[in-house]
């Protein structure tokens, strides 16, 4: 009896014999690779997590089942067939139970209660106790080298499989709709669908084979595993499921290796094996570099994202500090302005003789007090304006008025200053329109006076010409202020409108100035829909400032 063997050659290396169709190797190795790959990816990401450990155990159990299956196809030893068959009967429901535990812990983040454990224990107990008996496997049919299954293998084991699958579906239905995180919900859904697809295809393949005695059918049931693996991997790449940091490139490369590697077991001729081996080698090498470069790029991207985050935080902090500074300047300026008004008022009253006659000797110092406090008032006004602009508190009252007239008046107001410096202040206009703009009158006059006054200040000889012109195509009006003063370099032109910026050579002609006038003028013009630009051919070659406003037609 012990000397009987099935009617084919003994297997070489346990898994290879003439009885095994090539497709069996291919189907089994593809699923073994994919199960191990997914199991290892999850386990390697966090070997200490319970879920990772259960998952690798689940993958190993399934791989063991698949390996036993190939062994059953290959061997001609009846004793080995009986043992392997019995092990398969044991492993199959264990895989299903393990799948339930993994899914339960994944969903609830806790181990099932004692009652559930007891239920599973009670369900599995008959299988374990009766495994070595004839109730499990009755006999061996020598011609096909197949076991004749008893009620435990044929009915009880499959009932357990279906019951465990039902339990998975049940906890999925109960728990998934209650998950709050959307990504977590999707991951759980993909995981559950993948798991159930795999388990159902696995067990149905075996059930059909068991009842039809055609065991080639069971191999098709195994293809549920790659589907399951694909869904798990998709969840990992898309939602970082199981806290695994994997990229699409890594998955693609591992899949390619699996597919090309499994070809080695299918192709028959030596030439084809060589081609498959070279392809595997090339895929492995290229894949390694691809994964490496993708990882490097991801690392760089993360670094850039981190830097951008830091920069954003620093920027927010700077903005807060800038706001605090503006508030401080505003408060300080207000505090300074009131005493200055008093000083100017009293100096003026003294000069007018409201407090009696003042000697000629005393008049000059009082004039200086008056003029210095006037300069200081302008400086404080500049600081206040900057503070208002930056805090968004500058108020504009927009009305329609004639810009040409205002430019004319501003020139009249400042002509005396120009004459005092020996300069000619010339006003010209060339308008096709009436020159009406919609802006804040006070602020516009302030801008005009600021720019014309600037030109007078920075011009030692020659003239300051003010032209008003319009462009009916662009529907804009321009005021050019052209002087023969100190001019400016290209670098200065780029920074002249920034806060506290003055022309490099400004101090040679004019010691007063905060460097805020042009900044304030530009900000005010822009707030009213206009703009200011500066142009100069270089140091000592004069400057041209152009104010533009949209025409109110």
């Amino acid at each position: 009896m012990q000397n009987l063997y099935c009617p084919w050659e003994p297997a070489t290396y346990l898994f290879f014999s003439s009885n095994v169709p090539p497709l069996i190797h291919y189907s089994h190795f593809v699923v073994i690779f994919s199960a191990l790959a997914v199991g290892l990816i999850i386990f390697a990401s966090n070997p200490r997590a319970l879920l990772s450990r259960l998952f690798i155990f689940f993958s190993v159990l399934f791989c063991l089942w698949a390996l036993l299956d190939i062994l059953l196809w290959a061997t001609n030893d009846p004793a080995l067939v009986m043992f392997s068959w019995a092990m398969q009967v044991l492993i199959e429901p264990l895989t299903f139970a393990m799948a339930f535990y993994i899914f339960y812990i994944f969903l609830y983040k806790e181990i099932p209660s004692f009652k559930v454990n007891l239920l599973f224990f009670a369900a599995l107990l008959p299988l374990i106790l009766l495994l070595p008996t004839e109730l499990n496997l009755e006999a061996l049919l020598l011609s096909a080298c197949e076991s004749i299954e008893g009620p435990i293998a044929k009915y009880y084991s499959y009932t357990l499989n279906l019951a465990f699958t039902f339990a998975i579906v049940l906890v999925g239905f109960l728990r998934i709709p209650r998950l709050e995180n959307k990504d977590k919900k999707r991951t759980a859904l993909y995981f559950g669908v993948g798991l159930v697809t795999f388990l159902l295809s696995f067990t149905s393949g075996n059930i059909i084979s068991s009842f039809t005695d055609d065991w080639t059918i069971s191999q098709y049931g195994l293809f549920g595993m790659p589907v399951f693996a694909a869904l798990i991997v998709y969840s990992i790449v898309q939602f970082k499921a199981f806290n695994v940091q994997a990229t699409g490139a890594q998955v693609l490369v591992v899949t390619l290796w699996t597919l090309v590697g499994s070809l080695l077991f299918v192709v028959d001729t030596p030439k084809a094996k060589i081609v498959a081996a070279i392809t595997l080698l090339l895929t492995a090498t290229l894949g390694y570099f691809l994964v490496k470069s993708v990882k490097r790029e991801i690392k760089q991207r993360k670094e850039i994202e981190m830097l951008a985050g830091n920069l954003e935080r620093a920027n927010t902090r700077l903005k807060a500090l800038d706001k605090q500074k503006s508030e401080f300047v505003s408060i300080a300026s207000h505090q300074l302005r009131s005493p200055l008004t008093t000083i100017r008022g009293y100096a003026s009253l003294l000069l007018e003789g409201s407090y009696g006659r003042i000697s000629e000797k005393a008049k000059e110092p009082i004039r200086r007090i008056a003029s210095s406090s006037k300069l200081m008032t302008f400086a404080i006004e500049d600081y206040l304006n900057v503070s208002r602009i930056e805090s968004g508190n500058m108020k504009y009252t927009l009305t329609d008025f004639n810009l040409k007239d205002e430019v004319d008046h501003a020139c009249d107001d400042l002509r005396q200053d120009a004459i005092k410096r020996g300069l000619a202040l010339i006003f010209r206009s060339n308008l096709s329109s009436r020159g009406i703009i919609h802006a804040d009158l006070g602020k516009t006059v302030q801008i005009l006076q600021n720019l014309i006054h600037n030109s007078i200040k920075y011009t030692e000889k020659g003239s300051v010409k003010v032209y008003v012109r319009d462009d009916m195509v662009r529907k804009k009006i321009y005021v050019d202020i052209i002087d023969t003063g100190i001019g400016m370099s290209q670098e200065t032109m780029h920074t002249i409108f920034q806060k506290f910026e003055r022309a490099e050579n400004a101090n040679t002609v004019n010691v007063h100035g905060t460097g805020l006038g042009l900044f304030v003028a530009l900000k005010m013009a822009q707030a009213m829909g206009g703009d200011i630009s500066a142009h100069s051919d270089g140091d000592g070659k004069g400057s041209r400032f152009t104010i533009e406003f949209p025409l109110a037609l």
Partner: protein, 52 residues
């Protein structure tokens, strides 16, 4: 290892389960591979391949 709580009773249950499974595997191994204590339905007697 993450902090999953498992009560004493469940631990004992799992331990018994593992023990019984191992005994069952050992018994199956002994019964099939050592004693070869199973029925073989010889439906290919004319083409039998013996190990001799």
């Amino acid at each position: 290892m993450d902090n999953y709580m498992i009560n004493k009773r469940s631990q004992i249950l799992i331990l018994i389960f593992i023990l019984l499974t191992l005994i069952s595997i050992a018994a199956t191994y002994y019964n099939t591979l050592i004693l070869k204590n199973f029925v073989i339905i010889d439906d290919v007697s004319s083409e039998l391949i013996s190990d001799e």
